[in-house]
Amino acid sequence: MTALVIIEGLVILLLLVLMAGLLKSHAEILRELHRLGGRIDGETGPGGVRVTGLGEAPMTEITGTDPAGTTRTVSLAHGRGDTLIAFLSTGCAACQTFWQTLAERPRMPTAITRPVVVTKGPEAESPGQVAKLAPADLPVVMSSDAWDAFRVPLTPFFMLVDGQGRVLGEGSATNWNQLLGLLERSIADASSETEPAISPDDPTLYENPVNR
């Protein structure tokens, strides 16, 4: 009888430990979602996860190799429009649609002058696999350092950086239209932050400025 009680006690203890572990991991997931600005109520809108006004990008250039073995330094502060950084991997199922769409030169907000694909370095990704998926006319940089510096939390992950190297928005999406929504909102938010407010004597406020 005593043995049975001890065994039962051990089982209950084991279940408690398992439950505590599950609660802890659940809390970590919620904390990470909160950090990314995401919601879990099914109302994520066009951009699944999004944060704007993040300040300076952690690096103004990304250095790595492309799938053909070329060492490349890609600038994020080139002063000629915004750069869309697509952090993709060859193994992630959700990334496949973005590999494919980027190769088809998709519609993009005009402020974005260049998309750049960044994968993990050759020690973590097969250059051959990346070469098969890489869009022919887009820069592809393999750099685990960049992934660490930008603290990429999941794939696919996107970051929009302006020509001065400032992050305008970041987040994840499951399809191109969702990403477009995320990008358009980030660009609109950034421009509303920089444009001056209309003053009372602004001529556009009056139907006939001459007779005012």
Partner: protein, 153 residues
Amino acid sequence: MSRIRRAGVSVEVPTGWEAAAVGGAEFQGLDTDGSRQMLTLHVASFPLPADMATFGASAVERMGPDDVMVMLVEYGPESANTPLFAHQGIPRLEPGMFSRDNLHRTLPGQSGTQFFFTHEGRAFCLYVVLGSHIDRADLVPKANAIVESLEIS
């Protein structure tokens, strides 16, 4: 500012500039004719395209009048110290070296120069394109800043 390194050659890449280096002794790839690909280094003040020819034919069409592109192309060791590569050491650029006729791909307004030299027993061609021939006096110092940061071992 960062430094890109490959096959015993390194160069500083100023903020806002881009660079690409391919080939060289550490690279086992072969050219389409089966020969070993020699080191080619491109440094540009504008975003470089994904795929570039050795002398930057696809890149120069993206240049604005304020842009500069510096290219260093290595030749085989048999070329070192031959008459074409007789100049010893990395050259310093002067505005007078630039001409519209020196371009591998002639585009309106642009200017270029090409200089062959031997350094540390290695044979190189330095090819520089300026976005504006008229403004070469202002652009040459930008190119020289890149060239002076070159380290070849």
